[in-house]
Symmetry: C2
Subunit: 117 residues, 2 copies
């Protein structure tokens, strides 16, 4: 497997780890697009949302509870965005499922994402 996130999970590639348990790892995005930009990643190699199956429902829930916890730990509860890019046409670059946790802006006006909902 030549997956950069699998290498990070196996500690074969360096990363700034924020949180880790048996199912999930969260680490700093190396090219942050917001003051806080953390990736929350399941250890299981699932390429994208399009490959999620019934058996992954609990894991997806766990990814969200981890994002909520990490956001609180980072002091951005109530003020963050969660983004999943799905497939090349959706802007996905690494084909290992990951949640982008974005926040830390000084104000709502400071969010520089014009086309965002």
């Amino acid at each position: 497997m030549d997956c950069i996130f699998c290498k990070i999970i196996k500690k074969e590639s360096p990363s700034m780890i924020i949180y880790e348990d048996k199912d999930i790892i969260a680490f700093q995005n190396i090219r942050p697009l917001a003051p806080v930009h953390i990736l929350v990643v399941p250890k299981e190699h699932i390429p994208s949302v399009d490959q999620l199956e019934e058996k992954h429902k609990d894991l997806v829930g766990k990814i969200f509870l981890t994002a909520k916890k990490v956001a609180a730990d980072q002091g951005i509860a109530g003020a963050y965005k969660i983004v999943f890019n799905v497939g090349e046409g959706g802007g996905q670059i690494v084909f290992h499922l990951h949640l982008h946790l974005l926040g830390g802006w000084k104000s709502k006006e400071d969010i520089d994402m014009p086309g965002m909902p």
Copy 2:
């Protein structure tokens, strides 16, 4: 409850419904920010990601499997973004948990979201 999404779920407010089952409803966003912009919403009134608890894990998984199915039905599999705004400081407007499903761009260059991951 004066929640617009609860009213849509109870059919007290109109909406363009795309999908519905006992737990989830998906409908068109009335102010689309992409050629496809659908909201996938749990029927249970949970204000935001910050209020998710252990008991909601399966429901969160179901929201994602529904988004995947709706994306496929819309012909945008492999080419979409999923966004959750959390709290006022994260750009959330309606305080009933919802997933933004965004896609339908002609090309990657057509995605007009400069600050997005």
